[in-house]
């Protein structure tokens, strides 16, 4: 029994690490740029589709991941151009890219899903070193997450990175300081979607297939992880925030594994996630409803 639980926990951790990269991507748009970018729903599938198709055709899995990142970045570029150059609201730009990517992803894969069973993946190297599949995913996932955190910590400390942060924080101020806010928004979306596609590529290789439907609801999972990370693991400085995001993604996966284990039907999972996110997002407002109530209680006594 304990062994089974351990196995479930480890598999949740391995999945959480891969989703952590996606979570960090969502954080870049949602918190740093202050844009809810829905194109990630398409770009996570795109990453999976590109990686799976390339590996299926015999490409080196690491090169396939790199190609997936480029694909995701291109998707981010499209959303960015729709939003900044054509002045389409950010939310709608993301939706348009997401819808378009559904067709693009079908084109890439040529069918609704591609199996990677018995193919060489990025994890194979670690498996030959004697780790089991889950162990290999955890090890490589951890390396990727740490790499992403380190790179982003550096990037958002540079002049350009500071420009992106200022743009998301106060675009008028950013322009007054000579920052090309349009380019910063585009760049932020490119980086974000590149990370999301990387996450998709790694998830596909870990689960052994890419599926056209796999991106549905991913933005909500990303948001849930961001919020859980911020609430539970703090947001002191940028570095600890990035760590908190990864921990948030892990926690989300463990929670999901737990509720499934307790007998919640898998079909209700997205409902559960949506309610969690709605609750977490409305917490500040809910608190203000509670405060006058508390005050009147005090006054009554």
């Amino acid at each position: 029994m304990l062994q089974i639980l351990m196995q479930i926990l480890l598999s949740a951790i391995s999945l959480g690490l891969l989703w952590a990269i996606m979570t960090i991507g969502v954080y870049i748009t949602y918190r740093i740029l202050d844009i809810a970018d829905l194109s990630v729903e398409g770009s996570i599938t795109m990453g999976a589709a590109i990686a799976a198709t390339s590996i299926y055709h015999g490409m080196n899995p690491f090169a396939a991941c790199a190609l997936a990142v480029l694909g995701g970045m291109a998707a981010g570029l499209v959303t960015g151009l729709l939003h900044t150059k054509l002045k389409i609201p950010a939310l709608l730009s993301g939706i348009l890219t997401m819808i378009a990517l559904y067709s693009v992803n079908l084109r890439i894969m040529g069918k609704a899903n591609i199996s990677l069973l018995r193919m060489e993946t990025v994890y194979s190297k670690f498996e030959t070193m004697g780790l089991d599949k889950t162990g290999a995913v955890i090890l490589f996932g951890l390396l990727c997450v740490l790499g992403v955190i380190g790179t982003l910590y550096w990037f958002f400390g540079t002049e350009i990175g500071c420009g992106i942060r200022a743009t998301g924080n106060n675009s008028q101020m950013a322009r007054a300081q000579g920052i090309n806010t349009n380019n910063m928004i585009i760049l932020g979306l490119v980086v974000s979607n590149g990370l999301v596609a990387l996450s998709g590529a790694l998830i596909a290789q870990s689960q052994g297939f890419a599926d056209i439907q796999m991106g549905i609801g991913s933005i909500v999972i990303g948001l849930a992880s961001v919020i859980i990370g911020e609430v539970l693991f703090g947001k002191k400085n940028f570095f600890s925030r990035l760590i908190a995001l990864a921990l948030g993604a892990l926690t989300y996966r463990i929670i999901i594994a737990a509720v499934l284990q307790m007998g919640m039907p898998a079909n209700d999972l997205r409902m559960f996630t949506a309610i969690t996110v709605a609750f977490a997002l409305s917490l500040p407002v809910l608190k203000t409803y509670l405060v006058p109530f508390k005050k009147s209680m005090k006054g009554g006594m």
Binding site: C162, R165, R175, Q177, I179
Partner: protein
């Protein structure tokens, strides 16, 4: 230093809300001119500043800063030669970023940004010195988030940011209007000091007639998108609020109306 030639700006053209905000504005500022700009509601003061800053594109005319025509340059590309402080203290700084990060953003105004680290150690010392002069104790809180500062502190910081790299033009858009009187006076004195020390060419919108008279070497009054009064030198020094109101009446044929104008 700044030349406006026949600048016209219409908002919402062709709709029921059409408004001619600027009607053929001509203005030349010499190097070191400190101009106070005053006028009634909807006179076009802020619009004029925003046109100079590039927030609005103008319909007609041209804007020349230090000999180069910037009429068609976008806001961020003009920023290198313009320092700005806004009416809303929240507007001029990035609340979620630290004091030093905000200063570092301002320090790079007008330069190409690349992948160098956003703040160098050498700069940090320089910022400490500059912050000391504000006398607000901010020099010991370099990494504190700007969102934690009071309105007055944020406005003082914005002013420092606007002048950190010497601007060819300094635009102050009612930058003390949202502050309490004591803080407003302090920020205004600070502005005056920076402007004098740097011999900065400045355009300051104010709703306070006394301030408009007290500060600067030149006073401009706007009405319905036009400049109706331009008082400088000796004449400006002897000006009183009564004079100003009388001359406004003569020039516009109306009584001065500004909800927020302080006449005393």
């Amino acid at each position: 230093m700044l030349i406006l030639k026949d600048v016209c700006k219409k908002f919402n053209p062709g709709t029921i809300n059409e408004k001619q905000a600027l009607t053929g504005v001509n203005l030349t500022l010499e190097e070191g001119d400190f101009v106070t700009l005053i006028g009634g509601n909807g006179a076009g003061k802020s619009t004029l500043l925003n046109c100079v800053a590039g927030v609005h594109t103008i319909d007609q005319g041209s804007i020349i800063i230090d000999g180069s025509d910037v009429t068609k340059l976008s806001e961020h590309r003009r920023a290198g030669s313009i320092g700005r402080v806004f009416q809303d203290p929240m507007m001029g700084t990035a609340a979620n970023m630290g004091i030093e990060e905000n200063l570092a953003l301002a320090f790079r105004r007008g330069q190409n940004r690349n992948l160098k680290w956003g703040i160098s150690h050498k700069e940090r010392e320089q910022y400490k010195e500059s912050l000391k002069q504000l006398d607000l104790g901010l020099e010991n809180r370099l990494s504190a988030k700007v969102g934690l500062l009071s309105g007055g502190q944020r406005q003082a910081l914005t002013l420092l940011m606007a002048t950190l790299v010497r601007p060819k033009i300094l635009l102050l858009d009612e930058h003390t209007a949202a502050l309490d009187p004591k803080t407003a006076e302090k920020v205004l004195q600070l502005s005056d000091r920076y402007i004098r020390e740097g011999n900065l060419t400045t355009l300051m919108v104010t709703h306070n007639m006394l301030n408009a008279i007290q500060y600067g070497n030149r006073l401009i009054m706007m009405h319905e998108g036009r400049i109706i009064l331009d008082i400088k030198g000796e004449e400006k020094q002897q000006l009183t609020v009564e004079d100003l109101l009388k001359r406004f009446g003569q020039a516009s044929g109306e009584v001065f109306a500004n909800d927020r104008a302080l006449l005393s």
